[in-house]
Symmetry: C2
Subunit: 466 residues, 2 copies
């Protein structure tokens, strides 16, 4: 189901990128970044500083309305992990006008659907509804943005919901626990090392006062954007935006996102977990790479291609090497997520073939990578990856949600509409040499963390019990 996929993807993984989005929602097994598009985008800034981004799509009389806030879990204070996500839940608990749950009920009664998601760098709320109900949604959305009430009882009940969400999606899911541990091991200082949903030990201490303070600080119009994609006239949307969102008062100065800088990695990290609930072993590796805001020109795009070359689908390099040829793995995937405010990540995951030891699979992975880095990434692999990425980019136009997501996320991390639209042009200019250079420069073990999950205690672990 759409709702739960959005939630679980964004909460449990750093890769809240379009790459992951596409992978999980649309084409399931293969990760394909999509970013730039040949679409008409109208942009306005309201007097209170709120951005409005409108993309017409007249194929059906429906509209997707999203409110993006430039705040995510990586902006949380020490000891308050999970507050951004908890607050997102609380924005469904009513305002001065609406009772708890009434927002979603009105959307449903009008034939629409709504939900929200939180990630490291942003929080977003969306509704999909018939175009003639857009004004209603804008009215309700603006109300929620400014007038959410924090009733003690509802706030406490919702914390139980969030804790249960963490239990069911993380604690009861060894693969999610491994991702969380791997992520924590990857970062030393930066808050990207904390889970979006928060550590349980901190989540259970969150209060209504924490949530309200976070809301007052970050939910100010100059820290947000309205993104509307659908069967609309941009001028008309602009007028409605002025009418509903334009009246929102600045509640705080635009918050600075002065996050700490992750020290240059100097050691290969590793986490090893054994869990009786796991049926078969898996290996996950994450390399810290520069994000789109830090990377030298072309590097983020070279890494997009590299992620696709390595593990984007069954024709990818690692898949053909490890699954098809060596039969050491039953599944391999890889993706790059550089669409972040701070650093990016290139991730690889492997399921060893039945009977193959994780150690053997990991050595085969390292050997395959070593070979590729030594010989250089072949021209034809880069060309194929380029075609795949660009086609996928074109397909994004088919989805209102994806379009809104792409431009909303770009806003949240401080990239312009134009930069976002030009992504495929930049992809076209990357050479195979640049992809090889990016691989050699960034995919060093000292930039990486490797996570291993095995069904029973491993040999090493059994030495001192698990």
């Amino acid at each position: 189901m759409f709702k739960s996929v959005v939630f679980s993807m964004l909460e449990n993984s750093r890769a809240a990128s379009v790459a992951m989005f596409v992978m999980l929602l649309v084409i399931a097994a293969s990760a394909t970044p999509v970013r730039a598009l040949d679409v008409d985008v109208s942009e306005y800034t309201l007097d209170n500083g709120m951005k409005v981004i409108v993309i017409p799509d007249h194929r059906a009389p429906v509209v997707t309305h999203m409110v993006w806030v430039r705040v995510g879990s990586a902006d949380e204070e020490l000891g308050k992990s999970g507050i951004a996500h908890y607050l997102e839940h609380l924005l469904f608990k009513g305002t001065k006008r609406l009772k708890p749950g009434e927002f979603s009920k009105i959307i449903r009664l009008n034939g629409g659907e709504d939900n929200a998601f939180t990630s490291y760098d942003f929080t977003a709320y969306f509704e999909r509804i018939a175009t003639d109900r857009l004004e209603l949604v804008m009215d309700l959305g603006a109300d929620r943005f400014a007038n959410t009430t924090f009733n003690d009882r509802d706030v406490k009940t919702e914390l139980e919901v969030v804790k249960e969400e963490r239990r069911s999606r993380t604690e009861n899911n060894p693969a999610a626990l491994l991702r969380e541990q791997l992520n924590a091991a990857s970062y030393t200082a930066h808050t990207y090392g904390r889970p979006v949903i928060g550590w349980m030990s901190e989540v259970e201490t969150l209060t209504a006062a924490d949530a309200e303070a976070f809301y007052r600080k970050y939910y100010t119009p100059s820290n947000a954007a309205l993104v509307v994609v659908g069967d609309v006239d941009p001028e008309k949307v602009h007028e409605l935006a002025v009418k509903y969102y334009g009246k929102l008062k600045k509640t705080a100065p635009t918050p600075e996102r002065a996050r700490t800088q992750e020290p240059t990695p100097i050691a290969a990290k590793r986490v090893e977990m054994s869990d009786p609930r796991t049926a078969s072993p898996s290996i996950a590796r994450k390399y810290l790479v520069p994000g789109v805001n830090q990377a030298p020109p072309g590097v983020s795009e070279a890494l997009d291609l590299l992620g696709q070359v390595l593990g984007g689908g069954s024709s990818s390099y690692l898949y053909t090497e490890l699954v098809t040829r060596q039969k050491i793995a039953s599944q391999v995937s890889s993706w790059h997520n550089g669409d972040t405010l701070d650093g990016g990540e290139l991730s690889i995951s492997i399921a060893p073939a039945p009977g193959v030891d994780v150690k053997v699979a990991e050595e085969a992975l390292d050997a395959a990578l070593h070979k590729l880095f030594k010989e250089g990434v072949p021209e034809d692999r880069v060309e194929r990856a380029r075609k795949q990425l660009i086609s996928s980019n074109v397909y994004a136009i088919d989805s209102q949600f994806r379009l809104a997501y792409i431009f909303g996320a770009a806003f949240a991390i401080g990239r312009s509409v134009e930069h976002t639209k030009q992504w495929s042009n930049r992809i076209k200019q990357v050479t195979a040499e640049q992809v090889t250079e990016a691989a050699r420069t960034y995919l060093k073990l000292r930039n990486s963390a490797t996570g291993v999950l095995v069904p029973a205690p491993s040999k090493a672990a059994s030495a001192t019990s698990n």
Copy 2:
């Protein structure tokens, strides 16, 4: 030299415990916790909330004066790592009365010596001087506690000093870098995972305003203790304390030390570093264990004994197994540090014998531990460890610095004088079964992080270069 040892020990390692202190300063290679003592301790609380602890020692006409503040690096805000230690430096840069450096100059001109140190849970300033100069030191100490000035130029210059200190003690020291990486990998949420001296990326952003705010918040009399050990009359010290420290105004409410709780560890962690500046490989392991404030009765003491049994000196279990018998290691040591506000640690370090692969040494370690856990810790080993710990405890009486440190650190982590004095009585009651039980319960790989430092890129690392 005394001064620099105190600094480097406390900044670069979590183990700012008396155990580490003894190991580094007094008996060099063997780690022996000392904690409780048959000494007369007088305790007072001044009207402003400041504690005064006095221990007479009439063997020589000298006195050790220490001011302990209940704040350390683990109390720092996100992105401000290093501020506690930086502030400690700034407390030597002058007050309304004294020019930068004048404090130490006066102490020296009066035949004394002075310094300070910062750790995770506390910051302390000390002077050793002839007893007849105690009043002078108390006058200056109280002035510094309340009236330090933050002159922009001096503050900036001192930041360069701190950065250079980090460069020389950490960046240029692969073993220190490994300890830092291991520590970071050990913790997911708790600030014990950050280095006391701070991450360079954060240290270089610290400002005078940061330091002054930290000073105003934490350097309030009810958050501090004066500890005086030496040729003094407690009543006379109390009078002087009232005269000098008693006049200090409360500048802030006693700060809460509401730190985040580390989630229960679920994965074995590992960091692997190669560094051309390293001559021979080394292995360090750290298990997270409950600290003295969290452990069930007797457990912290059982872990004290376990640390000593495992690697306290050349008669210890791991030393005899790995160095003497198997000749797999050239050095082994182990120590427990539970004297912390939050969680404790049991650490083991091994230098593989020349020509022995780190992998082989690590497997031998795990096998030796497994054997001990399976067979149980022998009675005679526990008895020997107990005697060693208790003798060492008695020796502490010989050092004014150590006595002041023991009771000052206990104050900082919220333990009473009486609890501290009774440590050896608690050690006497621990059974071999309890030591075995503690080993089996807490020394699980999933509670551990292992760090490996090798001179050249390891085989695995060379697969994708270092």
